[in-house]
């Protein structure tokens, strides 16, 4: 062991003379260095860190080095065999320190580490201060680019944030789409209502567009259906199918159909903003009336006046008898007109649009005025108003149904402009029809059940729900005898439901009552 002592002595002596390049600095040196030059200081401290880490490794490897000599750093690698016998040599490898090395090292390392950390953050600080003006400019330009016109303005917000929605609340729009099947609370009616359609017809390529009106049934029993760019007429008496017309362009389609009340002429509205009148018996177009700026999604006849509603929000009145056909224009909608119905007595025209408005227009007593002020504008619907139907027994009672965000059927008295009743149907209302024989109405719906609902009026209790369609039931029409309802859905089928069938025994009673009425009156007169 003596030779080690000797060697240590020698190295000590040598170090005394040599300048201390390695090893931890004295505190005063560090302070001095810090104040003089931070960069130089860094290099020094880096050095010392390096070294101290080396120091720390070697003592640890003392044990290990016997087995894995290749891993031990420094001089010990040269004498792998020796290290086993002479552990003291390990302490020699860090040539910098003497025998007081180990306890000193641990303290030094801690201080250094701390210093290293603090000095690094200092360096960063000074970095920002010392940034060149051009670089600063670049940074502001970049942030301006990224944040928009922030430089000229401040963005602030109120520190107290708005209260969040109650726990467990789900977006109602989303709830709508996850509506489950609720057990129907249908009232038992005495009348038998078949739960399955009487007949199912294919309607390939029928457009799934809420804003169109692609189905109508004439008084002669002809049912007109638009399938993409073609119009077919189905004769309900004999089941014959006839193709009436086809659009020329492959992208063009028929957007609405409506039968004249006599049932011999069919009005057709197209995506090319034409309004055509066709003679079905002779399979020929009688006239083409232009004037709209966008597709014609809704049509309705009032005697010889054909009213057409367009995507542009305008409604035109066409007198189909005269050459200068456009006799009136109504501009009360800002978006597509998707519902259009004349009242049975021809006094009012109801129009519903995608701007959630329901307008009631006057007929003008034979004159069809160009106006932009309806008699009434009803704003209660919170979605597009497509489903419109006038009550056959109350001349000024209108039923209207709203789209997905609204889901209500509302009843209006158009003499007074009052909402008489409203009911939440829990589903998009696509179409409404009143029964001719019963005090009932039927509505067709979209998600989730794609059903038809029969309602009693005015109690609005559900009479029946007819399910079967696998996609939303976009259109409905009633057979001329009022017993059957046809529904067209986005699942490309037409279904015929015999839901208003008249019981022959019951049908007699009103007739017999009518005939009985004069008798009683006579009798009272005699007495």
């Amino acid at each position: 062991m003596a030779h080690f002592n000797f060697e240590n002595e020698v190295s000590k002596l040598i170090r005394m003379d040599a300048p201390i390049t390695k090893g931890p600095q004295m505190r005063w040196q560090r302070k001095l260095g810090e104040s003089i030059n931070s960069s130089r200081n860094e290099s020094i401290c880096n050095n010392s860190v390096l070294q101290s880490s080396q120091c720390c490794k070697t003592p640890k490897s003392k044990g290990l080095s016997t087995r894995t000599p290749g891993k031990t750093p420094g001089s010990s690698t040269k004498t792998p065999g020796k290290t086993k016998q002479t552990p003291g040599k390990g302490s020699k490898t860090p040539t910098t320190m003497g025998d007081r090395f180990i306890p000193n090292r641990s303290t030094t390392q801690f201080e250094l580490g701390h210093y290293h950390v603090t000095s690094q953050s200092n360096v960063n600080d000074s970095d920002e201060e010392m940034m060149s003006p051009s670089k600063k400019e670049f940074q502001t330009a970049m942030s301006e680019n990224l944040n928009g016109d922030l430089m000229s303005s401040k963005i602030i917000s109120y520190k107290n944030k708005a209260p969040s929605a109650p726990e467990g609340y789900q977006n109602s729009l989303k709830v709508l789409y996850s509506q489950g099947h609720n057990p129907t609370s249908c009232k038992k009616s005495i009348r038998h209502i078949p739960q399955v359609p009487e007949r199912i017809l294919d309607a390939p390529q029928i457009l799934d567009d809420y804003y169109l009106n692609l189905l109508d049934w004439s008084v002669n029993g002809h049912m007109a259906v638009c399938l993409g760019g073609q119009v077919y007429v189905w004769n309900s008496a004999n089941g014959e199918i006839q193709q009436l017309m086809e659009m020329e362009g492959p992208e063009d389609y028929v957007s609405s159909v409506s039968w004249i009340s006599e049932g011999n002429y069919l009005a057709i509205g197209t995506s090319t903003s034409d309004v055509q009148v066709w003679d079905v018996e002779h399979n020929k177009m009688l006239r083409n009336m232009r004037g709209h700026a966008a597709r014609v999604g809704s049509l309705c006849w009032n005697n010889y006046i054909l009213s057409s509603g367009s995507r542009s929000g305008n409604i035109h009145h066409h007198d189909v008898r005269v050459a200068n056909h456009q006799v009136g224009a109504l501009s009360g909608h800002t978006q597509e007109v998707c519902g259009l119905r004349w009242s049975p007595d021809g006094r009012f025209l109801a129009s519903g649009g995608n701007d959630n408005l329901l307008n009631i227009w006057p007929s003008g007593g034979g004159q069809y005025l160009t106006t932009d002020t309806p008699i009434y504008t009803f704003t209660q619907h919170q979605a597009a108003v497509k489903a419109l139907a006038w009550c056959p027994w109350h001349p000024s009672l209108l039923a209207s149904g709203g789209g997905t965000a609204d889901r209500h059927i509302r009843f209006w008295n158009c003499n007074t402009g009052v909402c008489v009743n409203s009911i939440d149907t829990k589903s998009q209302v696509c179409s409404i029809l009143w029964s001719k024989h019963y005090k009932e109405l039927v509505s067709s719906h979209g998600f989730a059940q794609n059903q038809l609902i029969l309602w009693k009026y005015p109690s609005m209790t559900k009479v029946a729900e007819l399910t079967g369609h696998t996609a939303r039931v976009l259109h409905m029409a009633m057979s001329p005898d009022g017993s059957t309802v046809v529904s067209a859905a986005a699942d490309e089928t037409l279904r015929l439901w015999k839901c208003f069938a008249v019981d022959p025994a019951k049908k007699k009673t009103p007739a017999s009552m009518l005939s009985a009425a004069p008798k009683t009156m006579m009798r009272s007169g005699i007495r």
Partner: protein, 204 residues
């Protein structure tokens, strides 16, 4: 007499204009909250305004929040220091901005309290405002469904030199990186011009 009354009706003063715009913000924000389903629909009540049926929240806490924001904005509208009002709709969990309704406010800074009132009838302004609100209502048809629970925040862009009240703090702009923008109609009171825009995140 009638003529005098008519004249005063068509005159828009700075104070009146401020009230009109602030009122529009109240109803506009309420409409957005209802239409986008941020709060339960049953917590809203119907009111007739601008010839429309609008839904406003009946929640006291939310009302307090909106009132305090709008009242502050009203002051800034009067001083003409406000540039934009932005409603940011964020996902409650990830804080990702999904929708951003921006209303740019342009002020005619030459107008002061005492200057001659502008000429525009209140009815015309109401018509313009109702068109904007109808557009907000109709926007549900194209805006993507907000799948997750969402919170909203109202940001106000003001002049740089404005002294920020203690209840207000600076905020990030909340800009959506991958977004589609739709411009809405604008309306003007001749003193303030408000221009709407909605930006929404494109589904990847």
């Amino acid at each position: 007499m009638a003529g005098v009354k008519q004249a005063s009706r068509n005159a828009i003063t700075l104070k009146g204009s401020t009230d009109i715009v602030a009122e529009f913000f109240t109803y506009g924000i309420n409409s957005i909250l209802y239409q986008r389903g941020l709060y339960p629909p049953e917590s809203f009540t119907r009111v007739q305004k601008y010839n429309l049926t609008l839904l406003v929240t009946a929640d006291d806490e939310l009302n307090n929040y909106l009132n305090s924001v709008v009242n502050q904005v009203r002051e800034w509208l009067y001083n003409m220091t406000v540039q934009k009002l932005v409603i940011v709709i964020k996902c409650a969990d990830t804080n990702e901005v999904l929708e951003r309704w921006q209303f740019n406010v342009e002020c005619d800074k030459t107008v002061t309290e005492d200057s001659a009132p502008g000429e525009k009838s209140e009815d015309d302004i109401k018509k313009e405002i109702s068109a904007v609100i109808r557009q907000i209502t109709a926007s549900v048809t194209f805006l993507p469904l907000l799948e997750s629970a969402c919170v909203f925040d109202i940001l106000v862009y003001t002049d740089k030199d404005l002294e920020v009240p203690s209840e207000w703090g600076e905020s990030a702009p909340g800009i959506i990186s991958n977004s589609e923008e739709v411009r809405l109609r604008s309306f003007t009171t001749t003193i303030h011009k408000v221009e709407g825009m909605v930006a929404y995140k494109l589904s990847a």
